[in-house]
């Protein structure tokens, strides 16, 4: 199967600056729904990002440690198990504790709007729901990450 060619604008944006954008795609908790995480990981790779996929059933500590070791610009967490109100604040807290203030935490899954708003208020980035277009995710990362790097 032929991978889709990334749009030119996207490609330019990801290669601008000191290095390619590095993203950790993470599956926390006991949730096994990995269709979305894999589709997003493949789309980001095709768009020129460096993608590290954690695989399934990771603890929050594992995810944050992997993000540190891999020196990523963003942690993209996929949760479809309903545990987002426990897991996302925990990952966010661990990232803060380790001083990862220039690393974006965002994600997606089955996350009701009210919960997403509350998490955004706590400092979690955008959470993409069912029906999201991978090009919107790419655009969001391209726009958000350079701003964080400048800080």
């Amino acid at each position: 199967m032929k991978a889709k060619k990334p749009a030119k604008a996207v490609k330019a944006a990801t290669t601008r600056g000191p290095r390619k954008i590095r993203v950790l795609v993470a599956k926390p908790g006991l949730d096994g729904h990995d269709r979305g995480a894999k589709v997003v990981a493949a789309a980001l790779r095709d768009a020129g990002f460096e993608v590290i996929y954690t695989g399934l059933h990771q603890t929050c500590e594992n995810i944050v440690n992997a993000a540190l070791q891999e020196d990523v610009d963003a942690v993209c967490v996929s949760i479809l198990s309903g545990a987002h109100m426990t897991i996302l604040p925990e990952i966010h807290g661990l990232m803060k504790k380790k001083g990862m203030n220039d690393v974006l935490l965002c994600g997606g899954g089955i996350i009701p709007d009210d919960d997403a708003k509350e998490l955004n208020g706590q400092g979690v980035g955008r959470l993409f729901g069912p029906g999201a277009d991978t090009r919107d995710i790419i655009k969001y990362l391209n726009e958000t990450i350079p701003k964080l790097r400048k800080r």
Binding site: M1, K4, V25, G29, L30, D31, G32, H33, D34, R35, A37, K38, V39, A41, A42, A43, R45, V51, Y53, T54, G55, L56, H57, T59, S81, G82, A83, M85, T86, I87, I110, P112, D113, G129, P130, G131, D133, T134, R135
Partner: protein, 552 residues
């Protein structure tokens, strides 16, 4: 008209049709239906032999249906999947459903139960009672079926790597109710192969998992003869993004693999094969779904009779449950999902399903609310009673298109069987990530077709509305986790720890000695060992499965 004359007419028509105006159409991603071919005639069924390929309902090769009378004998079972919160919450829902005439229960468990952790384990935090009901102690199981005589209901349990423990707890409750095992009816999902392929709930590596499953098959063949020991599932394979033919081929190959392992254990095929049942997805590609269901019965029957030499027609007969496709639902304009679910349910009934779960319109957002579930159930009732759908058995048989598509399904499926056999069978294929990778590729293709609008998903990539009003959705109270954790801790404090420990050691001994593990697991749950404790001793014995993190 002679053959030659008809061919001339057909060629004329082809030329005229090719010249006529054409509009760009939305096409279902990665479908078996060729895009350019818009008419089917008897020319497409040249090798079709209705006696050989169709027969009559209830007879080999079962293409037309598993039973002689089909829906005239019995309508499909309207079996809605339910489970949330504590055992008490779900017990109340079960009683409500039974009071309203439902005779089959279908249990959804929460993630910790499904992955072998007690509710008070650190890994269970935030997940207790969320996606289903938390059951990790015998007391939980007693509460779940409190006041429900187990010889009066059939119980389906959607549970896999911990299925042996859930069954043991169910049998222990039956003993308390003085119901003999021979009168218990129900189904354990217990299909680990599709867990590695798609749903991704596991504890041990594939070989020890297969051993536990065969232990259950063997035990039930002797002691719980009316229980379906495995519900071989394509549902999750399709939800993970597979094509229809991948769903069919991987599922049937999983089923044949269980047959191989059962025979290897020395159980006669006709003793266990009649208790294998299937579970398929019904997606939006209407005709292809119907062809898939019809082909499934024929392929299974042919393999069981011709390859395995099964003599009992019940071993050849493929029976299946269907669930409409969760992944076909949109979070946008969710009311449209009522229509999608109705179309998918229609395909399942035309395909001859034995039971059906229809999804609720809000399931792309959360677990369903009661009003949403009610519309989904009513959808089945409308199909059953209002539109003449059940008057004639397999009404699409003989359609040039449907029969050609059914044949095509069978051929493609056999080709996938051959590739898996070339890898040494399904277990080695899974270990090298073959079905997982093929599914991930198909899922990405689906997404590209959506984003590039080759496939129109109404409300998502076309006919989009801004500022939609949100639906009210179900919320799980955090109290559920606190209450359940407290109850489990109390349960462990109150029991005789020494007795529980001795029974856990007996399970390890059975695991090491290759004797059937079901009897010691039943003894252990009766001695109040918990689900998590049983899994822990077996984790040490069998090891844990880690999937290589490949996204293809």
């Amino acid at each position: 008209m002679t053959d030659a004359e008809f061919k001339r007419v057909l060629r004329d028509w082809e030329t005229a049709a090719a010249k006529a105006a054409k509009e760009q159409r939305s096409r279902f991603p990665v479908t078996l239906v060729p895009g350019e071919k818009i008419l089917y005639t008897h020319e497409d069924l040249k090798d079709f032999d209705p006696d050989r390929d169709l027969g009559v309902p209830g007879r080999y090769p079962f293409t037309r249906g598993p039973y002689e009378n089909m829906y005239h004998g019995k309508l499909w079972t309207m079996r809605m999947f339910a489970g949330f919160g504590t055992a008490r919450d779900t017990n109340q829902r079960f009683k409500y459903l039974l009071e309203h005439g439902q005779t089959g229960l279908s249990t959804a468990f929460d993630m910790p139960t499904l992955m072998g952790y007690d509710s008070d384990h650190a890994r269970s935090k935030g997940e207790v009672g969320r996606e289903g009901v938390a059951i990790c102690t015998l007391q939980n199981m007693e509460t779940l079926f409190g006041g429900i005589p187990l010889d009066q209901v059939s119980t389906s349990m959607t549970i896999n790597c911990t299925a042996s423990i859930a069954l043991a707890m169910y049998l222990a409750v039956a003993d308390e109710q003085k119901v003999p095992y021979s009168r218990l009816r129900g189904t354990m999902q217990n299909d680990m192969l599709k867990e590695y392929i798609a749903q991704k709930e596991w504890i041990f590596p594939p070989e020890p998992s297969m051993r536990v499953i065969v232990d259950m098959m063997e035990f039930c063949a002797d002691h719980v003869p009316k229980f379906n020991t495995i519900s071989i599932s394509g549902y999750h394979i399709r939800e993970a993004g597979s094509t229809s033919v991948q769903e069919l081929a991987y599922t049937l190959k999983d089923g044949l693999t269980y047959v191989d392992y059962g025979i290897k254990r020395g159980i006669p095929v006709d003793k266990f094969a009649p208790r294998l049942s299937f579970f398929f997805n019904s997606h939006m590609n209407f005709f292809e779904e119907i062809a898939k269901f019809r082909a499934a019965r024929r392929i299974w029957a042919r393999h069981l009779k011709e390859h395995y030499g099964a003599k009992n027609p019940e071993s050849w007969r493929l029976r299946f449950h269907t669930q409409t496709a969760g992944c076909s639902l949109s979070a946008q304009q969710p009311e449209n999902n009522i229509v999608r679910t109705a179309i998918e349910a229609l395909a399942a009934v035309l395909g001859g399903t034995q039971s059906l779960h229809t999804n609720s319109m809000d399931e792309a957002l959360a677990l369903p609310t009661e009003p949403a579930v009610k519309i989904a159930l009513r959808t089945q009732q409308i199909l059953a009673h209002e539109c003449g759908l059940v008057d004639v058995i397999d009404p699409l048989a003989g359609s040039y298109f449907i029969e050609d598509l059914t044949n095509r399904m069978e051929r493609e499926c056999e080709a996938i069987f051959t590739s898996i056999d070339d890898m040494g069978g399904m277990v080695p294929a899974i270990e090298r990530g073959y079905p997982q990778r093929e599914i991930a590729k198909a899922a990405s293709q689906f997404q590209r077709d959506l984003e590039e609008k080759r496939y129109i998903f109404v409300g998502v990539n076309d006919h989009v509305e801004k500022d939609e009003k949100p639906l009210p959705i179900l919320k799980i109270d955090p109290r559920v986790e606190r209450d359940q954790v407290a109850e489990v801790r109390k349960f462990k404090e109150k029991r005789d720890n020494g007795a529980a420990k001795r029974k856990l050691e007996a399970i390890v001994a059975a695991a090491k000695n290759n004797t059937n593990m079901m009897p010691p697991i039943i003894e252990a749950v009766k001695a109040r060992a918990t689900l998590g404790e049983i899994c822990d001793v077996l984790r040490k014995e069998f090891g844990e499965w880690r999937e290589p993190p490949i996204y293809w």
